[in-house]
Symmetry: C2
Subunit: 427 residues, 2 copies
């Protein structure tokens, strides 16, 4: 069961421990480095070998064919298709309001300056395999890229049981606008996307979640291509007062905990009685949960419940923690939004469980974890845009600027910089 | 002298080699890791030991005092102060137009959603030491942070000759709005900023250039704090046609090359005669340059001149290269801006040498290098902002969404997610 901490304990010991990045296992790094080098040297041949070895798939082409993508639609339940389309509409609507246009900062006869906004050309999306399939990952990563204007979106995901990819991922890819899908998983997928092979064109940026091998591969290819982030364990912090409903709060703590054993559920409560009731309710609801074993380990090892003096104190702890998800289940919940400084995404009020945002409401579910919300943001259209500044000076503008530029260049002992100005004005 | 390449050679061999990230030296990484661990464990004591060892400074406090900062103004030439103030005005004006406000994506009785824009709370700026001082680094890094609303801007730079920091850096810090300055250099500065000590409060993000040790330290602390980027060698690509002036073009190639021996100067020219004249002019101008030795090595080892068939072909090569700086010295230069896909910053026309942007015009000079302009952007106000999404659902909105959320949660085998919705609607 969730352990209780005092405000002081939580502040002094817990936050520092929970906002420290988790280093990669050096064996994993070594293995992945070898695979990446191999793919860089041997291309498709290496990709096929690893795909046969790890996913049991031996095929001449790892591309998901047009036919396969068409057929996938027959293998997905209609209500799932409808739900994916509705979710995609909401995600598209929310993210379309993030679009920005190139800017002009200054425009006179003598000076023109500004910022160009340009989409990335090619983006790769990694979608993990495993027992379950995660079509929401496809929507959340591909839709912002598509809206940004990315020309080619390539998705890779491992084949299941040595055969095809799960049809629901193919359908989600169609809905989100993914151009090409490959049946490749693990670090070999990251290597193929980063460096390209005979069959697979290298991309400019790779996004999407994955296991320790995928994460290590992303960290190693970063710099040669862009990456979104290296995600740590998923987290929720819930701030509640006496107006909250213990069954709702408990359900949300459990929904977080069912992800995996390292997931983190934090509760900050101003009422001792409601805190006790909520913890009882967590116990009760866990009993009926299919993923009970995972959730109970997560709650016991990683969870925390803190009785706080005031809502403000709760926000102070939460801002120090900088959680991936924050729920505010209090009276006048929207009013407290102003107190949020560090969080990935905020869910406001008694009827906004995180699950609504995970799948449906529109905001992205790819969010900063492990305290990185102090300095970084969830996935957005901005992640698929480059900003290039530009400036034009007329001869007259250069003449006005010359004395200052020359003074500063000489101060920095870069005489060639001063000369680049002088040579243009001396004739 | 600059080596000439054919279009084909440049495309096939040169670009791939010049857009590959440069791995850290493992000895440097090891040394830096030790220093960071030491600072994490021993705090100020360790910082002071390293500062004494590497910078020859033994002092009870490493803080630059108010008195020292006031006195610095007497030790900087008035024309330098004026030039810094003028440059700061331009940088402030350009970057202020990047400011964005929090967004509302949807607002009805049932749904409120959007993005909060929040400044980072504390930012650290590293300013390198060495023979020369770089006040422009202070302006370019601190001004966007200040505009973004960062509450505390901390700068560190090593003391010179075991005494004080260069007065011009202190003055630039005052002009740019830096709150606190410490006399700390190298990886120990990065460690102190990332993890905090008794005297130095930890920051949320560290920006600014530095040598191999500083770069390695930034890469190691990344994740615990944010960083701007790991800069590679500085680059310029210059596209010219027959309208260009060889002395201007040559001066700009040399200005780039004088930075250091690894700096890269690339020329793309549609005219064989003008290309030859420009290379002659490079030779001639180099003779008179104070940093001649550095520039000549840089040009010979890292430079490239390519005779191109057309301007479009030049842009195709440049977009593949994704250079840090791009100059367009052609007829109707502004018209060609539309062809730029991948570049850090663009300088347009015959009278806009890169030097104007390095110091004065307003756009930032902290820019992506080594091909990373394919997927990343120069420093801007955005780097000091976090975007937090938020969503409120009423009971009614949740009821409308429930079937879809439940379907998707069940499809992903996360029953607890479906239950978090159900529990709110069943009473």
């Amino acid at each position: 069961m969730i352990r209780q901490y005092s405000q002081k304990e939580f502040k002094e010991a817990f936050i520092a421990a929970k906002t420290k990045k988790q280093p990669f296992d050096s064996d994993v790094l070594q293995t992945v480095k070898h695979i990446l080098d191999d793919i860089r040297n041997r291309g498709d041949e290496a990709v096929k070998e690893y795909t046969k070895k790890f996913d049991g798939l031996a095929a001449a082409s790892l591309l998901v064919s047009k036919k396969e993508r068409e057929n996938a639609w027959n293998d997905v339940a209609p209500e799932v298709i409808t739900a994916l389309k509705k979710a995609a509409d909401n995600i598209r609507s929310f993210h379309s309001k993030q679009l920005q246009t190139s800017r002009v900062m200054e425009m006179t006869d003598d000076i023109v300056s500004g910022q160009l906004f340009r989409p990335l050309e090619r983006v790769g999306i990694y979608v993990p395999g495993g027992k379950a399939s995660y079509p929401s990952t496809v929507l959340m990563n591909a839709i912002p890229a598509k809206l940004a204007g990315v020309k080619k979106i390539v998705m890779t995901t491992p084949a299941r049981d040595g055969k095809n990819i799960p049809p629901v991922l193919s359908v989600a890819a169609d809905i989100a606008g993914v151009d090409t899908i490959y049946k490749i998983g693990g670090s070999q997928a990251i290597g193929a996307l980063a460096y390209g092979t005979e069959q697979i064109e290298a991309v400019d940026k790779i996004v999407g979640p994955g296991n320790a091998y995928v994460a290590a591969a992303k960290s190693l290819v970063f710099g040669d291509v862009g990456i979104d982030m290296i995600a740590g364990p998923s987290e929720v912090a819930i701030i509640v007062d006496e107006s909250a409903h213990p069954p709702y709060v408990a359900a949300d703590l459990i929904a977080q905990a069912e992800h995996d054993e390292k997931a983190r559920s934090f509760l900050f409560c101003t009422s001792k009685a409601l805190l006790a009731k909520t913890l009882e309710e967590v116990k009760r609801q866990c009993e009926e949960l299919p993923r009970k074993d995972i959730a109970e380990i997560s709650l016991a090892n990683e969870g925390a419940a803190v009785l706080v003096d005031t809502i403000d104190e709760a926000f102070s702890l939460v801002n120090a923690l900088a959680p991936e998800h924050l729920e505010i289940q209090t009276k006048n919940a929207l009013h407290h939004l102003s107190k949020v400084k560090n969080a990935g995404s905020v869910f406001i009020g008694h009827h906004t469980p995180e699950a609504v945002g995970d799948y449906f409401a529109g905001p992205n579910h790819v969010l900063p974890t492990v305290g990185t919300a102090r300095f970084s943001s969830g996935l957005s259209v901005d992640d698929f845009i480059k900003k290039t500044t530009y400036v034009y000076y007329s001869e007259n503008a250069l003449r006005q600027a010359a004395p200052y530029v020359e003074t500063l260049a000489q101060e920095e002992e870069l005489d060639g910089h001063a000369r680049a100005v002088k040579v243009r004005l001396e004739q």
